[in-house]
């Protein structure tokens, strides 16, 4: 494997704190009268997509905005519970842009870019201002000012929240802004569309091909630039906290058209989810990290102790996070919390019927603050838990276990959020740029909105103003017809296989392979095995899948087939990436590389880089490229939360 193309992240020169300001000044501008001459496609309507579409339209661009659901308001950002970080320092507890930057870089185990992360920390403050102006009902104290709480990986309170529905409220704010632009005619909405291909003309992204999920029509749309805000690929594991329709297809199609995929093996396993309880299960439900502010995580000290939690005396409980990490306690970062929970369960100390769970106990918090106070902070989460499990967390500890939640990997982008394809921009979870090898809680909402409201409006202007555009028309330019043909052939192929296994069966099997071998801990042997298993499963899929119905209709089995077919290729890319990274860092825990205390052991000498993969053909090994990470402002150290 050799690195042939030098990946240039285009980080501006100058001191860290001045990079973004300088860059904004250096970017070319599109004059107000000319903005209306440009068409921009935005795929996705989550926090990144909706905020980008709304803001670009506010500036005067013509936007076509696509989503897979029936309404832009359904995007999965809506399910984010806990909050959004911002370096406001309203709590007067020592926060600053620098500290948010540093916490994020350290939390990501030094595998993110300094320049991008610093910009994110700077913009965090603008986001809160804008969201309040939009009418987001954030939590407030009795004086009427905004309230904050703490999240993992930080020792300050910088998380703004709206009960346990922060994502919902922020998304509805972005959605409202978007609908305002729909009313002005600057945004045209295309709901119930799935992007199935990216169209490039002369090496530039100039349009997309979609399937109308109601009629089955294969449709084409042209533009001067394409913005992907299509979220993460956590559903490659089948079971995750993601919504059912969340998928990798749009990003993967762009990868196949030449966009490099960065760090695909970086997937976040969230420590506090409701445990798996049956093979029929369709998804896992997250219990917000904010619960770790007041909940204490424990297991019985004795392996195999099957007594009910109330029967286990204090002296026979192991509060393993508090004991091992006294300064951060229950608020260690997600990767650390997850790995420790797994470790306890592997020792036979797991609880519940499956033994794959640990307790999250609120008894002390309730005794200290009263049930009312706890209900005020987490009431809706407790209700949700009770609905799903039938158990009352006010009376008995919650049972939690790690589950796939977020993907730090994504399409490679430069400082302008442009991929390796000119004119293809990637925002939010779909890109890779800000969270390194582990994302801190309450930072996903921050990144999605920073990208959409405050980064892309500037950087896309720089691209549009500095680029010569050939005339392109979706109805006439041959690249569109070629792409439609390919998409149609694939749909026809799915429907003609007529085998004996359902799409879900393949998805479940793939998920188990990845969870086992490319999940919370990995090793070379398991990864090599997984690669063969995935290849075999993929072969079987194309010979033996059965998809009912037709292509000219709403056909949810057909939609899923396309997504699972892409996962069956993408899963192998994840495994390749995990194999290539011969170190441990953040979420990527290769058991061969660990410290004496079982923490992830980085190899900064050889792996302080972004791994970016270039598609070279079906069944070909993708080409590896390296973007070295340069740290000029922080010192690389072994992460310690003790």
């Amino acid at each position: 494997m050799s690195s042939e193309v030098k990946l240039d992240a285009k980080i501006p020169d100058g001191p860290l704190a001045e990079k973004w300001d300088r860059h904004q000044f250096n970017l070319k501008l599109v004059n107000p009268a000319n903005k209306k001459k440009f068409q921009i496609i935005v795929v996705g309507t989550g926090l990144a997509g909706a905020s980008a579409a709304a803001t670009l339209a506010e500036l005067g661009y013509n936007v076509k905005n696509f989503c897979i659901q029936d309404s832009p308001r359904r995007a999965h950002s809506i399910a984010a519970q806990g909050g959004i970080n911002a370096a406001k320092n309203y709590a007067n507890d020592g926060d600053s842009v620098w500290r948010l930057f540093y916490d994020t870089i350290k939390g990501g185990d030094f595998r993110a870019r300094e320049g991008n992360v610093y910009r994110l920390a700077q913009l965090s403050c603008n986001i809160i201002d804008h969201c309040v102006a939009q009418g987001i009902p954030f939590a407030r104290d009795y004086g009427g000012l905004l309230d904050n709480r703490s999240f993992g990986g930080a020792q300050v309170s910088r998380t703004f929240y709206a009960k346990g529905q922060t994502g919902q409220q922020l998304l509805l704010g972005a959605y409202s802004a978007l609908m305002r632009q729909v009313a002005t005619g600057k945004v045209t909405l295309f709901p119930r569309r799935e992007m199935l291909d990216l169209v490039t003309v002369d090496g530039k992204a100039r349009g997309i091909v979609t399937r109308n999920l109601i009629t089955g029509d294969i449709e084409t749309y042209d533009a001067h630039a394409v913005v992907l805000a299509t979220g993460g690929y956590g559903n490659v594991f089948n079971l995750s906290t993601n919504a059912m329709a969340s998928n990798v297809t749009a990003a993967f199609r762009a990868y196949k058209k030449g966009a490099y995929f960065a760090n695909p093996c970086f997937t976040q396993i969230h420590p506090t989810c409701i445990p798996v309880h049956g093979t029929y299960q369709s998804k896992l439900t997250l219990m917000s990290e904010s619960l770790r502010n007041d909940g204490r995580v424990w297991v019985p000290k004795k392996p195999g102790d099957k007594r009910r939690p109330a029967e286990i005396p204090e002296s026979e409980r192991d509060y393993f996070l508090e004991n091992k990490y006294p300064s951060f306690g229950n608020l260690v970062p997600r990767d650390v919390a997850s790995r420790n929970a797994k470790e306890q369960c592997d020792k036979g100390k797991g609880v519940g019927e499956t033994g794959l769970a640990v307790y999250l106990d609120f008894a002390d918090a309730i005794a200290r603050d009263g049930e009312d106070v706890i209900a005020g902070k987490y009431g809706n989460l407790f209700e949700m838990y009770e609905k799903i499990t039938g158990e009352n967390p006010y009376k008995t500890p919650m049972m939690i276990y790690p589950a796939v939640h977020y993907t730090m990997g994504g399409l490679w982008v430069d400082y302008n959020l442009m991929s390796t394809i000119d004119g293809l921009f990637v925002l939010g979870e779909a890109n890779f740029s800000d969270h390194g090898a582990n994302r801190l809680g309450a930072s996903a909402l921050m990144q999605g909105l920073a990208d959409g409201y405050f980064v892309i409006p500037y950087t896309i202007g720089g691209y549009l103003a500095g680029t010569e555009f050939a005339d392109v028309n979706a109805a006439k330019t041959p690249e569109f017809a070629e792409s439609v043909d390919a998409v149609q052939r694939r749909v026809d192929k799915f429907l003609s296989i007529n085998g004996n296994r359902t799409v879900s069966e393949f998805h479940r099997e793939l998920g188990l392979i990845l969870w086992e071998h490319c999940g919370m801990s990995r090793n070379e042997e398991g990864l090599v095995k997984a690669k063969t298993l995935i290849q075999n499963l993929r072969r079987e899929f194309w010979e033996n899948v059965y998809i009912p119905g037709t292509g000219q209709d709403l056909n949810q089995s057909l939609e899923n087939a396309g997504r699972v077919a892409d996962y069956l290729e993408f899963g192998e890319l994840m495994v390749n990436d995990a194999l290539e990274r011969k170190e441990s860092c953040g979420c990527h825990f290769n058991t061969a590389y660990q410290t004496d205390e079982n923490e992830a052991k980085r190899d900064d000498e050889n792996f302080c880089h972004v791994a970016a993969w270039e598609y070279t053909g079906d069944d070909e090994t993708p080409r590896f490229h390296k973007e070295p990470l340069v740290f000029e402002n922080v010192e690389l150290s072994q992460r310690s939360y003790k």
Binding site: Q69, A79, A133, Q134, G144, L145, K163, T285
Partner: protein, 251 residues
């Protein structure tokens, strides 16, 4: 994990596009774990149908944690089923008994044309929001977030209205297929906050007009919407909407 299972009979509305005639089809749902959600139960039935090479039941769903508002069906005559303040994806099978027959139908309203089986077109709700369900502010230039203190009670009031997930159950439950609870939730959320006040009256007028134009019915205080709302939105919001609406009429 071994848990209690039950056997059920489903009567499900099957219809392909709104111009064809629909019908209730009967399917057995066997060995259903009581820990399943309603949608997971439908998944199991759909897997069975697929294995028999029959077309599965189309239904909308996405987050499966009760917040996206994508799912919804009328279950035994009740929008999202009989559990209070629960979306269909959060309705669990432990609330049903062995041997039950369950009738499952789509939302029925003139403003929600049927697409297929249990899937309906709710884009009318987006049109109502586009008519005025926002505060007119562009990105950039907002003042510091703490420059405008808002009392905790007011923030709470706004939040309670803003909790609407736009699922359309209120419309499905209303004998007039009115969207008043939906409209009032947004009007009330924004009118409660100082940032939303300048446009409050205009917003109420524009959204109500759009609701009428989309073919939703009028409110006649049946309060079925409040009873079925999975997020517990109160009809007090409708009273607040009326207040804003009258202001716009007489201002």
């Amino acid at each position: 994990m071994i848990s209690k299972t039950i056997n059920l009979t489903l009567k499900v509305w099957r219809q392909n596009r709104s111009d064809k005639i629909g019908r209730l089809e009967t399917y057995p749902a066997k060995d259903i774990s009581v820990d399943m959600s309603f949608l997971e139960m439908l998944d199991v039935v759909n897997e069975d149908l697929t294995r028999q090479k029959k077309e599965p039941i189309a239904f909308d769903h996405d987050c499966r944690e009760g917040i996206c508002g994508m799912c919804g069906a009328v279950v035994n005559g009740r929008a999202h089923g009989h559990e209070k303040e629960t979306t269909l994806c959060q309705l669990h099978m432990r609330h049903f008994s062995d041997g039950d027959t369950i009738v499952i139908e789509p939302w029925r309203a003139r403003a929600f044309p049927l697409i297929k089986d249990l899937v309906v077109d709710r884009s009318a709700l987006d049109k109502v929001i586009a008519a005025g369900g926002y505060i007119s502010v562009n990105a950039g230039g907002a003042p510091d977030a703490n420059s405008l203190p808002i009392s905790r009670d007011v923030a709470e009031k706004a939040f309670n209205a803003a909790a609407c997930i736009g699922c359309g159950a209120c419309v499905a439950a209303c004998p007039n297929a009115s969207a008043m609870l939906f409209v009032s939730a947004k009007v009330s959320h924004l009118a409660a906050l100082p940032q939303g006040k300048p446009e409050a009256a205009r917003r109420a007028m524009a959204m109500v007009r759009q609701m009428d134009a989309c073919g939703f019915g009028n409110c006649s205080n049946e309060t079925e919407c409040e009873a079925e709302c999975p997020k517990g939105i109160s009809i007090i919001e409708i009273a607040r909407l009326n207040r804003e609406y009258f202001k716009s009429e007489f201002a």
